[in-house]
Amino acid sequence: MDLSILLAIQVLYAIASLAPISVGLAIIFGMMRVINLAHGEFLMLGGYAAIVATGQGVSIWIAMLVVAPVVVGLIGVVVERTIIRFLYGRMIDTMLATWGLSLFLVGLTTAVFGNTTVGISAPLGSFQIGAYRTSGYTLFVIVVAAVVMAGIFAVLRFTRLGLIARGTMQNADMAAALGVKPSRVYAITFGVGAALSGLAGGVLAPVSGVFPTIGVAYVAKSFITVIGGGAAMVSGTVSASALFGTINQIATFATTPVFGEVALLAAAIVLIRLLPQGITGRFFRRGL
């Protein structure tokens, strides 16, 4: 019984660490058809932002939940204005240019912070489930993921900003004719997507530590989550995260973390073969 509660928490945690790292990518890909291969590096920058801010005496909560997304969001806007905006409609080129950007950012952070892992200790101690102990931070990550997903859904569904964003995504020319500046919407969207990656990086920094090449570990996972999810940003990311997170955690539990990852990636390849449009291409079609 205790073990199954623990396993349930672990599965939820796996889902919760997959969803926030993927949703920023889903927004950028879904709205702008830009494949951002520097996504993992945005995450890494979020982690560094949180750690540096904590080192400067900022409260760890503010560092993770405010500093990291704001810093990375601003970087995202700069990247959009200097690189991405020349490449709209050239999907493969966005993929290549952002890959170059990712190499550049890895090189830059290696030069600045060195090729070592820096970390901050996770707050919130641990608690007891029967004979097992697990960290309270695990629950915090789950709560953050739930709040983030609910927040994105609410913004897209109920606010004017969300309406404009969805409208521009469906038909940029029509939105422009109605007085919306697509270039501004794109810059903001890219910034928000980057900020979400920064938030995920900040929140995950105490778990895994941060090092310059950490992004590689996340970028493939978040990509296949987005593609596995399909067209609908929120329900797609959630359903794909649930599927892949569960598979990953159960395989990890049965074998080793490495084979957990392999099971996740292999499941993704099979899923894309079966459902080329992703989960929301067939189910929850009317979702958001």
Partner: protein, 358 residues
């Protein structure tokens, strides 16, 4: 000059230059230079493998290093088990090709779009890296070859002449072999691309629907292109394992995959000589930058010696400013210069490859 004569002239020039390079280099250069040039030749074969798949087939494969690594590991493992290099050499080509055929079946017959193809090949590369990286313990072995995990496999025996274990191919022999294989690959691909098959794969790249309506099955042609490319990458991997007598999981890494793509994009998609130029140029640049900044140096030297940083800037700059790559851009300039000097030149302009990936 009409395009056909120009074409023949170009081929002859490459052939003569290649043969001169093959014969003269070991006589004129020091051994360390020859060794360095050998690795350039090996990597140029790898660059050609992606030049075929991506530049002509229009299939952007982010996982070319997976086939490269698979070839290298196959050779190493088979060599430790068999001790005679003919079968390992062939296996190092056949196994990546078979793997690509299987993977390609899933991708092309599933009609997965270009973008997802990139992500899937990336994912496969990461899977391989993770799996091989985690096989450090002595319990992981195939026959008498230990996989070594992140430590890699050292001391791989070199190639020998077929059927004669004692006649090892070493140092200068490797240079002759690699250069000869590079030339063979180049001319083989030129021949392939001039054939009916080559015309069809370029046609599919330009307009898949149209090619299909004309009665060609794009899935089969793409699968064949992908498999041939993987076989070439496996060949390069086999030579690489010979060159350093060492393989480690980093050859599956994303950095390696990125390099191959950068070679092709810098040199130019839709050409064969371009990726070779890009490959040698970038490798030379990386080596020069690295040599300029020994570890521990600071300031500008350290920043310039930071190879990923520089490669990243190069990649972004080429995508934004020179999307066609060096060789097609220079060829465009030359063509314009010729037309400007000879305005009466007839309208017999060679068809230009439409830029792909749009």
């Amino acid at each position: 000059m009409n395009p056909r004569a120009l074409n023949v002239f170009g081929l002859a020039a490459v052939g003569v230059a290649g043969l001169l390079f093959l014969i003269l280099t070991p006589r004129l250069a020091e051994l360390d230079v020859v060794l360095e040039l050998t690795i350039y030749m090996i990597m140029a074969i790898l660059a050609l493998s992606l030049a075929l798949i991506w530049g002509y087939g229009g299939i952007l494969c982010f996982g070319q290093s997976a086939f490269f690594g698979l070839g290298a590991y196959t050779y190493a493992i088979a060599m430790f088990n068999l001790g005679e290099s003919t079968v390992p050499f062939l296996l190092a080509i056949a196994l990546p090709a078979a793997f690509a055929a299987l993977l390609g079946y899933f991708i092309f017959y599933g009609r997965i779009s270009d973008v997802y193809l990139g992500v899937i090949t990336l994912t496969v590369t990461l899977i391989m890296f993770n799996v091989i990286n985690s096989t450090a313990g002595p319990e992981f072995h195939i026959g008498s070859a230990r996989l070594g995990g992140f430590n890699g496999i050292p001391g791989i025996p070199p190639l020998n002449l077929p059927g004669n274990k004692a006649a090892k191919v070493e140092l200068e022999g490797m240079f002759y072999l690699s250069t000869a294989l590079l030339l063979a690959t180049y001319f083989g691909l030129r021949l392939l691309l001039a054939s009916r098959f080559g015309r069809i794969i370029v046609g599919i790249r330009e307009n898949e629907r149209r090619a299909e309506l004309l009665g060609y099955d794009p899935r089969a042609y793409k699968l064949a292109t992908f498999t041939i490319g993987a076989a070439l990458a496996g060949l390069a991997g086999c030579l690489f394992a010979n060159w350093g007598a060492f393989v480690s999981p980093t050859i599956f890494g994303l950095a390696q995959s990125a390099q191959i793509i950068i070679w092709v994009i810098v040199g130019g998609r839709g050409t064969l000589i371009g990726p070779i130029v890009g490959c040698i140029g970038i490798q030379w640049l990386s080596a020069a930058l690295g040599a300029n900044a020994p570890s521990g140096s600071t300031g500008w030297a350290a920043l310039l010696g930071n190879v990923p940083l520089i490669l990243g800037i190069i990649l972004v700059a080429f995508v934004l400013l020179v999307p066609k790559g060096l060789v097609p851009t220079v060829a465009d300039w030359a063509r314009r210069l010729v037309q400007w000097r000879m305005p009466e030149a007839d309208g017999d302009v060679e068809a230009q490859p439409v830029e792909e990936g749009r």
